[in-house]
């Protein structure tokens, strides 16, 4: 057997142990007693919406958040226009009221906009919300309940894609759905280490004590979540609180987004590398190491496969020429065709384990969607995910690793 086959089997083995660990965690999390605020106890919240050139979505974002069923005397929205060149500011100002404040500043990046708003916030709980995120009325209230536990410094929602269309958005939708399961499993061992910038809640005192957003960081949300974990606090997950974001629907913007996320993940993980330590419990000894081992194995294997296929292209082409591109002669559907195909599939451990993982992930996604409501075209989305995600994932990571290795600057756009 070759080294690569051993590596594939090692990945499968680690994947099986990790998957089992998370399934057990998912089930045990149901039994975990959570301290939750009742309706009467809900604290004051501030929702910060930094916006840069978001004229297409800002109105709907503001409308969705002010429709929240949160006590209005404990609720404020601060829109920060980060020097937009379009009509973002003009549209936002139409919503100015007792609840909605609109600030404007010179363009300086998301971190600067968030920090500016943090100074003006009156809430005990701070929500950060992207200007292309939409939430149903219940999300703010349900997320805020988790802050009754004083150890909780952040709460994350169930992030989903807003009305996914086309191949790329469907792939991302499946990825987000899978993320719901993982998030719940991570929360069972206090190992959530990513709070989505699109919509997350934080305790104000954490900012007071540990400072505001790192304005030079390209993934300021990720930096904040690792900072919370590094300081030894808890990040909770509220599965009953969906938040919908508009996902890139073209390859280039998606590539740019992922390059930013993954380079940010690498740089911030390095910054907080001390978390890889037994004193951080399950996060330090299992969750983060397994996540990184899985990433490196996946990236290596996907690149190996792609390179191998590229080398085989010439061989395959000359073969096709040699048979005059007569594809029907390649298949040869005879009386034993299906029997042999079935034998070949079920005799190969890699295919068998792939089918097992695919089934488990499909069930994950189905379970994960129980609390967020019906997800349209779920079976098709899962199929699209399995066909394309690995390839895209390998590509995004490879590009990001090159950027980090060459210390290249990564920008938002």
């Amino acid at each position: 057997m070759s080294f690569v086959i051993y590596l594939i089997y090692a990945s499968i083995y680690i994947g099986l142990i990790a998957t089992t660990f998370y399934i057990i965690g998912y089930n045990q999390d149901k039994k975990r007693v959570k301290k939750l605020y009742s309706d009467d106890e809900l604290p004051k919240v501030s929702i910060i919406i930094p916006a840069y050139n978001e004229e297409k979505s800002i109105a709907r974002t503001i409308e969705s958040i002010i429709a929240s069923n949160y006590p209005k005397n404990k609720f404020e929205v601060i829109v920060v226009d980060d020097g937009s060149k379009d009509k973002t500011l003009e549209i936002a100002r139409k919503y100015k009221s007792k609840i909605v404040k609109v600030l404007t500043k010179k363009n300086g990046g998301k971190g600067t906009a968030l920090n500016m708003a943090l100074k003006k916030c009156k809430g005990d709980i701070i929500f950060t919300m992207d200007a292309d995120t939409f939430v149903p009325p219940r999300s703010v209230r349900e997320m805020t309940r988790y802050f009754k536990n004083p150890e909780v410094m952040s709460v994350t929602p169930s992030m989903l894609i807003h009305e996914p269309k086309g191949l790329l958005q469907r792939v991302q939708q499946a990825e987000y759905l899978f993320g719901l399961f993982i998030r719940k499993a991570f929360s069972s061992v206090n190992a959530i280490h990513v709070t989505p910038g699109a919509f997350s809640a934080y305790r104000k005192t954490f900012f007071d004590e540990y400072g505001g957003y790192d304005e030079t960081n390209i993934t300021e949300d990720l930096e904040m979540s690792l900072r919370i974990q590094h300081a030894g606090f808890m990040i909770e997950y509220s599965p009953e609180s969906p938040a919908y974001t508009i996902a890139p629907n073209k390859f280039k913007p998606l590539m740019i987004q992922r390059r930013r996320w993954y380079t940010g993940l690498m740089r911030n993980t390095w910054k907080y590398k001390g978390i890889f330590h037994p004193k951080y419990g399950d996060l330090g000894i299992f969750v983060l190491p397994i996540a990184w081992i899985s990433i490196f194995f996946s990236v290596f294997l996907i690149n190996y496969m792609v390179i191998k296929i590229l080398f085989e292209v010439q061989k395959e082409l000359s073969f096709l020429i040699s048979i005059n591109f007569d594809f029907t002669s390649m298949i040869g559907i005879g009386s034993y065709f299906f029997e042999r195909v079935l034998f070949k599939i079920f005799m190969n451990p890699i295919i068998v384990f792939f089918l097992l993982f695919a089934t488990v992930m499909g069930i994950y996604m189905k379970f994960a969607t129980k609390k967020v409501g019906k997800v349209k075209k779920l079976p098709g989305t899962i199929v699209v995910y399995f066909l394309f995600f690995a390839l895209l994932f390998g590509f995004w990571w490879t590009v990001s690793i090159i950027y980090v290795a060459l210390n290249k600057k990564v920008t938002w756009r």
């Binding site: 142990i17 029907t328 390649m330 009386s335 034998f343 070949k344 005799m347 190969n348 451990p349 068998v352």
Partner: protein
Amino acid sequence: MEPRKIQSKKRYLWAFIIGTAIFVIGFAFTNMVAYLQFQRVASLQDPTSYQIFQDKLQYSLFGEDICAENTYIKISQDLTFQGQVIGDLENKLGLDNKNVLFRKRFYTLIQLEHFEFVKLINEECNKNINSILFFYSNKKTDLENSEKLGNILGPIYQRNKENLVLYSLDLNLDSDIMRNLREKYDVGEESVVIVNEEHRLTKINHVSEVEQYLE
């Protein structure tokens, strides 16, 4: 900060036990499928050889008409499938697996029996059923060329399966009959394709190079 405790050591233990069990069961399952495949070949080889044997005896002892039906076509399909499955089993269980080697030797005998029967049909029935003897090698030195020849012969068989029978023979098979065959057809250490017992090819770049010799 105060060091965090691991939430549940039992969870790690269970994850390790269950994960390992699934891993082992997965491999056991694929080996079970390989065993089923092995049994399938065994269950096909006996009736195939019996059928060929019976047809030949019916003809030689009782002069039964062997031209009436194209019985050889069904047998040929069985043979092709058996060859493919033996190839799969070699990949799965290894080239040195004794059980697979036994089936391969038996398969070689059935193929040769069939080859003789087809020659008889051609003579007695005035037919032109083509035959290709493909002596392949699993040795590293010739594996690439052998695979290339095999890949091209597959489609040639599919395009002409109404009047073509393809016999795949491992030239490194440790058996007296294979040694004699190699001597008869002057086969060395490299893969060779022999069309209708006349035309020798060691390299094939296009289907036409073989099909030009088919009748």
